[in-house]
């Protein structure tokens, strides 16, 4: 019957769409990006806060820093261990993580995240100067 042909076609198309990621990837290995630390970062051992926190929630602290600096004019951040940092993406964060492409971008691209940090901040302020 004619309508059965339509139905089966429709069903196959639907299932193909639903299962798109399975056949599109064809079982190829997609390893997660390996984040590269610069020598300086390696030497530091720990970032502003713990590694786990920084992995999942670094955007929160960057947000907080921005607020504190821009609105309150306060530039010094003291972490729970009592260590002080100058709150600056360009001068503090990118000081260790100077390799934006190998560090920030790798994960962001992988997770399809497009932070607007770089709308204002340029990648490597020291070189540009």
């Amino acid at each position: 019957m004619k309508d059965k042909r339509w139905i089966v076609t429709g069903l196959v198309v639907f299932l193909l769409i639903v299962l798109f990621p399975f056949w599109y990837n064809r079982g190829r290995a997609v390893p997660p990006p390996e984040v590269k630390l610069t020598e300086k970062a390696k030497a530091e051992k720990e970032c502003v806060l713990s590694r786990d926190y920084m992995k999942a929630e670094h955007m929160q602290i960057l947000d907080l820093w921005r607020e504190t600096v821009v609105r309150e004019g306060n530039r010094i951040y003291t972490n729970p261990k009592g260590r002080e940092f100058v709150m600056s993406l360009s001068n503090t964060c990118l000081d260790c993580h100077a390799n934006k492409a190998e560090f920030c971008d790798k994960c962001h691209n992988y997770a399809s995240v497009r932070p607007y940090c770089w709308d204002c901040h340029i990648e490597n302020p020291k070189e540009a100067r």
Partner: protein, 348 residues
């Protein structure tokens, strides 16, 4: 009656707890890999089975609901969508039905006041349903970023559009809005809340609602809520999550360290929804395309619809009729096939 939504709520709550506890006691493989795979298999098999089961029954008669002027003379304009006369017309009607919920848009509310019946426009169900379905679709499409590497440009574009409205809140103790707020998630949550409340608060709708009406709503509420929590509140290592989800679709399952319980709850509720789908009313997704009142052309006198099981039936023939009434017919001057004498002769 409250039994029904309480029961549904209880089930969703138990599922919620099960995944939370399960991932806490080290059942990550079960909730992160085994159950999602099983759910997809159940979905695909169940969906195909249901649709093929529908297809196995024929459509013996063309019974479209004609929602407008049918095809007539050249000088009478036809309602080409609501009463289509060809394949393209039917396709258009179905598309409008599926993409814009055209029938639901007609909805009115009847009011009996001062001995007069009034029919008011009732648009909220249509708006709520539309918001719910489109938000859900957007959320689904957005989630393909977890299953494709690299994330396709069109999905990135969708993400950008979905997050065009920046909401960032930062007070001591409250920090919200990073990563960027996706409107679709919140629209979905609100729409689900509306549809659920509507079901509970409108007496007539509550009267007809079953557990299987509340359950998917509450389940989707749980899914939306856990997703929103994960993104904006508890946070999750997104790189590890994508490693897990990509592992699933590339058939290299892996359970990376350090993914929080909320993720497993989210994934488990989604798995339950997927597996439940083919065995529930959610199959209206497929059913709408097979609804004979919507997918057939309306000019049924112009073409012949064939019934595959059309069988001969006993009919009272004209001959039998004349046999019974011949005398009276002749007396009344009605023409007959056989005159009395002829009929009598044959009988002998």
């Amino acid at each position: 009656m409250n039994k029904r939504y309480l029961f549904a709520f209880l089930v969703v709550f138990v599922l919620f707890l099960a995944a939370g506890l399960g991932s806490a006691v080290g059942l990550q493989w079960l909730f992160g890999v085994v159950i999602p795979y099983a759910a997809v298999i159940v979905f695909v098999a169940g969906f195909a089975r249901k649709v093929l089961n529908w297809a196995a029954s024929p459509v013996p008669f063309a019974i479209p609901t004609t929602g407008g002027q049918g095809r007539s003379f050249d000088w009478i304009p036809q309602a080409k969508i609501d009463n289509p006369s060809g394949g393209w017309g039917v396709l258009l009607r179905l598309l409008f039905e599926v993409l814009t919920f055209r029938s639901l848009f007609r909805n009115t509310r009847m009011r009996l006041k001062e001995e007069k019946i009034a029919y008011q426009l009732e648009i909220f169900l249509w708006v709520g349903a539309l918001a719910f379905h489109y938000a859900f679709l957007t959320v689904l499409l957005r989630h393909t970023r977890f299953f494709l590497e690299p994330t396709p440009g069109c999905i990135q574009l969708l993400e950008t559009l979905d997050s065009f409205f920046r909401v960032e809140i930062l007070y001591p103790g409250i920090q919200f809005g990073l990563p960027a707020v996706y409107l679709s998630g919140f629209v979905l949550l609100l729409a689900v809340v509306y549809l659920t409340l509507r079901r509970i608060l409108i007496p007539a709708v509550r009267y007809v609602s079953l557990v299987s009406d509340y359950f998917p709503l509450l389940l989707i509420f749980g899914i939306a809520l856990s997703g929103i929590l994960m993104r904006y509140v508890t946070k999750v290592d997104i790189r590890a999550v994508k490693e897990l989800t990509l592992g699933l679709v590339t058939f290299r399952p892996t359970v990376p360290e350090g993914i929080g319980a909320v993720f497993y709850i989210h994934l488990f509720l989604v798995s339950v929804l997927i597996a439940y789908f083919p065995y529930s009313k959610l199959m209206h997704l497929g059913g709408i395309f097979l609804s004979p009142t919507r997918n057939l052309r309306g000019d049924t006198r112009a073409y012949r619809h064939v019934n595959p099981w059309n069988y001969p039936v006993p009919v009272h023939t004209y001959e039998e009729y004349e046999e019974e009434f011949r005398e009276k017919m002749i007396e009344a001057g009605l023409p007959v096939e056989k005159e009395l004498a002829e009929a009598a002769q044959e009988k002998e």
